[in-house]
């Protein structure tokens, strides 16, 4: 295994921990590269194609490098009923990207998520894990502008 993924050694070396290993890499690198797949395969003694199959199954894993700020607009049931599609439109317009994309500066990436578990505050979005609730257009745009200002 290349030194690049040496930190994997903190994860127990058994297939049961394969997903944990992937999560560890993603937390570290922000995404899972081809090299990471091969390193993990070697670490857990699992065929690389199997690892790729697992990675692609789970929505959490990204195969491309995400932006510095990962904006996740919740499209769970409550948020959808409360107009999450508009939120998505507004965020998309403000950032100039569509869900699944990262902007050109690598600052923002946008995705939708199934449910952030904060339905009573619908509609909500999260930026790098921080949840913002009861969004309206103004609030949404303001939050994004704030992040942009901080760069």
């Amino acid at each position: 295994m290349s030194d690049k993924f040496a930190y994997l050694s903190s994860v127990e070396r058994s297939r049961t921990y394969l997903i944990k290993g992937l999560q560890t890499v993603q937390a570290h690198d922000g995404y899972i590269s081809d090299a990471a797949i091969e390193a993990i395969a070697a670490y857990f003694s699992v065929p690389p194609v199997d690892v790729e199959g697992v990675v692609s199954f789970y929505a959490q894993f990204k195969r491309t490098r995400p932006g510095k700020y990962k904006v996740a607009v919740c499209d769970g049931t409550a948020c959808h009923i409360k107009g999450s599609i508009s939120i998505l439109e507004w965020v998309g317009t403000e950032l100039g990207i569509k869900p699944g994309q990262t902007d050109r500066d690598g600052l923002f990436s946008l995705e939708t998520v199934a449910c952030l578990g904060c339905c009573s505050l619908a509609p909500v979005m999260s930026i790098n894990g921080k949840v913002y609730g009861k969004l309206d257009r103004k609030g949404t745009v303001k939050i994004l502008k704030e992040y942009r200002k901080n760069g």
Partner: protein, 678 residues
């Protein structure tokens, strides 16, 4: 045994050992349950759900490949509901499955000749094999290779980039080279006798296939010679009659008898035939000329009669002078080009619709123009008179295109006040043909003979096919009908009514809707060359003689055309379980139309092709590679509808693949297969 389990399938009691699945018990007892993802070599997958059975008590459907029976359980495996569920599963799989069970050329051929196969044989230079494949469906290859409008080429996928493969020329070369020497296996006569009335394409074809089925066949022909339209309709310059004679000679070699100058209702009695023969095939064609529907039309010649007269006179005749042919079909083209050859230097076609709407073959129109024929579109005859100078005067009216009619074509409507006169020496009406039904035979609302659509049976032991059933069509369609009639008669006489086998043909789509990326290149050496141009005799020879216009391709030319063929059909068409079950359950690829996963194919591996668009995601290959071969080179990727099966980072099979072919052998469809066709 104390542990054994007693349960019922479709009311019959069976005994299962502990751990045995319902499917295993059923198979052991000869009950067939369809499966796709089940494979004894690997652990259970439970993916396809075509193996479902219904638990009678709970009403639940169980995948029989994985469910073990319980004591006292009763399951249904053949009820309508179970069949419907299986059909639905198959319909759903078909809806995401993109392949071509048959090559589009084969599907397009009215006779369903195995086009791709005879093209491949030709490409390899094996013209004898090519001819053998052709003759399984086309008993008149010398003629059809010269006169066919080439339905196959219109659907050829090669159209996606450039011109179609010159398919018909494979037939022509193969037949020119080996027709005379090739003899099929002819069974000894089985003692039954069939009369075929009318020795045109349909009659000849019926006789041919009946003879091959063991019947003794006698053809009755009203004209002095056999051939029908091939002889008396299609001009010499397209089909030299010496070649037709060669073609027909083979029928005699096969032991088929022929009696000429016998016409139904005149000197031939249907009742007598019916009683003297085991069955009668009526293939009398369409010999009644259509009407111009204008005053004085009796002054015009009828197109088919005109051609018949010239034919009977060995393609000689008087110069018709200034000639007008009314009509836009292939008969009109034949009349025009024949008139040119008879010496006229002023030949014009009058057609009441636009050029794009002309039913005649584009090639025919093009060649007619080359030979100096003039065209007047959007004109319709109103009146025909003979003037004092003895000349014909045709009064015409200009037309314009209006609303679409029932056929979807924009209907020509007269432009008021646009009448004009033209003088001519000869006016020929080539407006279409109709069946001249002999008395005693039932006709349908188009005036054609009325037959059962499956068996082509009329009544009693009388069957009919060809133009007299379909209305004027093409030679190859007549030949296709002749084969059905033979099968219909054979079924009738052996007491099991003939039913065409259900055929499921998945298709990637017509070439018009495809891009080059959508084509699957089995071979990496498909030639990028243009189509070999057709060599023609010099124009002066064309306009002054009836010599055959188009030349036969050389073997080199045919082989280079063969290299252009993409080989569109599925590599697994003979052993695809999806297709087999779909046919058995009446599944329909069109039932649940919707998106298919666009995932292309991989032909980088030297011997294996992975056509992902055909994959039904059963995972068999994944498990074979993991559990049997122990290589672990494949996996499912993604999930839901987007699930796909492939190797690491999108490669089908990496270099470490053992090339054992275990996955290829077990893939239930043609998604993973050898890259070569036999």
């Amino acid at each position: 045994m104390p542990n054994e389990i007693k349960f019922k399938i479709d009311g019959r009691e069976f005994t299962a050992a502990p751990g045995e699945t319902i499917l295993e018990v059923a198979t052991r007892n000869g009950i067939s349950i369809p499966t796709l993802c089940h494979n004894q070599k690997i652990s259970r997958t439970t993916s396809c759900f075509v193996c479902v059975v219904k638990d009678k008590r709970t009403g639940k459907f169980l995948p029989s490949c994985s469910a073990c029976p319980a004591n006292g359980q009763e399951v249904e495996s053949s009820s309508d509901e179970v069949r419907d569920m299986r059909r639905t599963a198959l319909n759903l799989l078909l809806s995401e499955h993109a392949g071509d069970c048959e090559a589009p050329c084969t599907v397009a051929c009215p006779a369903h000749a195995q086009v791709e196969e005879y093209v491949r044989a030709g490409r390899r230079g094996d013209f004898k094999k090519s001819l053998k494949i052709i003759k399984e469906r086309i008993p008149l290859p010398l003629s059809i290779s010269r006169v066919c409008p080439r339905f196959c080429e219109k659907e050829c996928r090669r159209n996606v980039y450039g011109k179609p493969v010159a398919i018909n020329d494979f037939k022509r070369l193969a037949a020119d080279l080996y027709y005379d020497e090739y003899m099929e296996d002819i069974p000894v006569e089985n003692g039954r006798r069939i009369a075929v009335v009318g020795a045109g394409p349909a009659g000849l074809s019926a006789a041919y296939f009946l003879r091959r089925l063991g019947y003794r066949v006698k053809m009755f022909e009203k004209m002095p010679k056999a051939g029908g339209m091939l002889r008396y309709g299609i001009p010499e310059y397209r089909l030299p009659k010496a070649i037709l004679d060669r073609e027909i000679a083979h029928f005699f070699k096969m032991g088929i008898e022929l009696e000429c100058n016998r016409q139904l209702g005149l000197n031939l009695s249907l009742d007598v035939l019916k009683s003297e023969y085991d069955a009668v095939a009526v293939t009398i064609g369409c010999w009644k000329a259509g009407s111009m529907r204008c005053a004085g039309e009796e002054l015009a010649l009828q197109g088919i009669k005109f051609l018949e007269r010239i034919a009977a006179n060995d393609w000689t005749g008087n110069n018709p002078g200034k000639t007008i042919v009314v009509g836009g079909g292939n008969t009109a083209m034949d009349c025009l080009r024949t008139s040119v050859r008879l010496g006229s230097d002023d030949v014009t076609c009058f057609y009441r619709r636009s050029e794009e709407q002309m039913p005649a073959e584009k090639l025919e129109i093009h060649e007619a123009k080359e030979e100096g024929v003039k065209f007047e579109f959007l004109v319709a005859p109103v009146k025909l008179v003979r003037n004092d100078a003895g000349k014909l005067v045709l009064t015409c009216q200009r037309m314009e295109l209006g609303e679409p009619d029932a056929s979807g074509r924009r209907k020509p409507v007269p432009v008021p006040g646009s009448e004009f006169d033209v003088e001519a020496d000869t006016v020929i009406a080539a407006i279409g043909q109709a069946t001249d039904a002999p008395p005693g035979l039932a006709v349908n609302r188009f005036g054609d003979l009325d037959v059962c659509e499956h068996t082509y049976r009329m009544s009693d032991n009388v069957f009919a096919a060809g133009d007299c059933v379909t209305g004027a069509a093409t030679v190859v369609e007549g030949v296709a009908g002749g084969r059905i009639i033979a099968l219909g008669i054979d079924g009738f006489l052996s007491g099991r009514e003939y039913r065409p086998e259900p055929v499921v043909n998945v298709s990637r789509g017509h070439w018009q809707s495809l891009r080059k990326e959508d084509l699957v290149f089995l071979r990496q050496d498909v030639s990028e060359a243009d189509r070999v141009p057709q060599r023609l005799i010099p124009i002066a020879e064309r306009t002054s003689t009836f010599h055959e216009v188009a030349a036969t391709f050389t073997p080199e030319e045919v082989q280079s055309e063969g290299k252009r063929c993409i080989e569109c059909s599925c590599t697994a068409k003979g052993d695809c379980k999806l297709r087999q079950h779909s046919q058995e359950y009446g599944a329909d690829p069109e039932a649940y139309k919707g998106a298919r996963l666009q995932q292309g194919y991989d032909n980088r591996h030297p011997v294996i092709i992975h056509d992902r668009m055909k994959c039904i995601k059963c995972g068999t290959c994944v498990k074979i590679c993991a559990e049997v071969v122990n290589k672990n080179l494949l996996s499912q990727k993604y999930r839901g509808f987007a699930t796909k099966v492939e190797g690491l980072f999108g490669r089908t099979l990496p270099d470490s693949c053992a090339e054992c072919g275990a996955c290829v052998e077990e893939c239930p469809v043609g998604a993973l297969d050898w890259r070569f066709k036999a």
